[in-house]
Symmetry: C2
Amino acid sequence: MGRDTFHCLRLLQAPSSLALDTSGLTPLLPSPHRIKAAGLKLQLCTNETQATRENFVKKLRALGFDISVAEVTAPAPAACRLLKERGLRPHLLVHDDLIPEFAEVDKTNPNCVVLGDAAENFTYANLNEAFRLLIGMEKPILISLGKGRYYKETDGLKLDVGAYMKALEYACDVQAEVVGKPAKRFFESALAELGVPPEQAIMIGDDIVSDVGGAQQCGMRALQVRTGKYRPSDENHPEVKPDAYVNNLAEAVDIILRHL
Amino acid sequence: MGRDTFHCLRLLQAPSSLALDTSGLTPLLPSPHRIKAAGLKLQLCTNETQATRENFVKKLRALGFDISVAEVTAPAPAACRLLKERGLRPHLLVHDDLIPEFAEVDKTNPNCVVLGDAAENFTYANLNEAFRLLIGMEKPILISLGKGRYYKETDGLKLDVGAYMKALEYACDVQAEVVGKPAKRFFESALAELGVPPEQAIMIGDDIVSDVGGAQQCGMRALQVRTGKYRPSDENHPEVKPDAYVNNLAEAVDIILRHL
C-alpha cells in the first residue's frame, strides 16, 4: 500500500526516475510534466489496492499531477491477468472501492482467494470466510495484492495486507503468491506495458525493499529518495543497495534532465 | 484453543493419563472420578482462552465431569504470573469472558500486549490498536495465549489466536512469547502446581504437537488418543512420537488403573 507515498517508474532510452510524495507537494507537482515534456516515458508503480486505477488517477490529477490511467501499474490488474491465465475464479477479500477492477472476472464457485488491503472489510467474519474457503480447497491458492506490513493514515498506523496474508498463510499452511511490489513479475509487467528493456529504465522509490530491491531484481537500476518511508538505517541494509540516493523527487528530475 | 476437545494431565507416583472429548461423552464421564478414586492426581491442561477457569469448570461439571478449578491449568493464569514476575502491564486483546482472569493485573500505561482467542473482538479497529501499541514500544513484547491455527465450532471453522499472532509478529517484526501448550513452561507450571516431577507424570492428548510434543519436551511421557484432532498421518510425524497410543480416554483409564 502506501497512501502517503507512491512511486514511479520512468522508462525510456536514458535512465531516469520519479517518486512522488504528497507531503510537501508543491515543488513536486511539475515533475511528471517535466519528465514527459522532455520526451521521456513515465510509469507509476503503486501497490495501491484501496481504489481502482481510475479513482487513484482522479485523486492525483486533483492534486495537480499530470498522470493518466495508462501510466499506472497496480496490483489488481496484474492479479486479473494472472487469474485469467490460470483459469482461477477468486473469492475477493478486498476494499469495496477495488471491486470494479475485477468486474470482468468469473467469481462463481471460487477456487482461490485474492487478498487486498481490505481495511474495514477485514472483519472477523470476512477473515473466517476466506479462511474456510482456503482450507476447504484440495490445494489452497492465496493471491495477495502486496505484502506490506503497515502504512500511515491521518488517524494513525494501520495493519497492511501483508499482516493478514501471514495470518491466512499460517492457518492454512500455504504460501501466498504476491502480486505487486516487490514481486519480479510486477516490475516485468510495468516494463512490458512500456515496451522498454530493464537496462533502459530506472526505478525511484522510498522503500528500500519494495521499490529498490524489487526493481534491481528485475535488472533495472534503482534510486532511493530520502523522503517518505526512507530511514537513515536503510543505507546499511544487509541485502539491498540502491544505485544512488537523491534528496527528493524534484532533485531526481533535475539530474535526469541534465543527463539526457 | 480447542473447545471440542480438551486434555488432561494426571500426575502422581504411577504414570497415567487422561483426555476428555465432548463428542461421545457418556462412556467418558466417570473417568476423572475413577482416576481420583484410585488415589491418583489429575490436572487438566487446556488452551481454553474464551472463558475464565471458573466458567470452564462450570461447563464441565454441568456435562457431568468431576473437575475442580484447582485441577485446571490454563494460559491466562500462566500469563498473569509471567506479567507479575517481569513487571509487565498488558494491553489485553482477548475474549470478553476472559478479562476477569486479569482483574489483579495493573493495566495502566501498557508496556506489552497479551493476545488470546478474542473471537468477535478480533475487529479491524482492535487489531490496529494492539499493533499501534506494539510498534510504539522501544522493544515490543507480545504474549500469546497459544498458537493454534484454527478450531471447529458448531457454525464452522474459525481462525485461532495463532493466526492473529502471526499477523502482529510480521507487522512489528517481533517474535511472540507463547504461553499455553506446547510451551515448556506451561507444562512445567502444571507439574509445579501438583508438586510432581515430570518422570512421574503422563500427558494424554489428541494433538500430536501441542499435547504429546510439548509434554515430552518437559521430560514427561505422553500418550496420544485416537480421537478428536488425531489423524492417522500423525503416526508418521517427522518429529514427535508418542510413548503409546490409546483408542480413547476410557481405555486409557482402564490401562492406568490396571497398572497401579
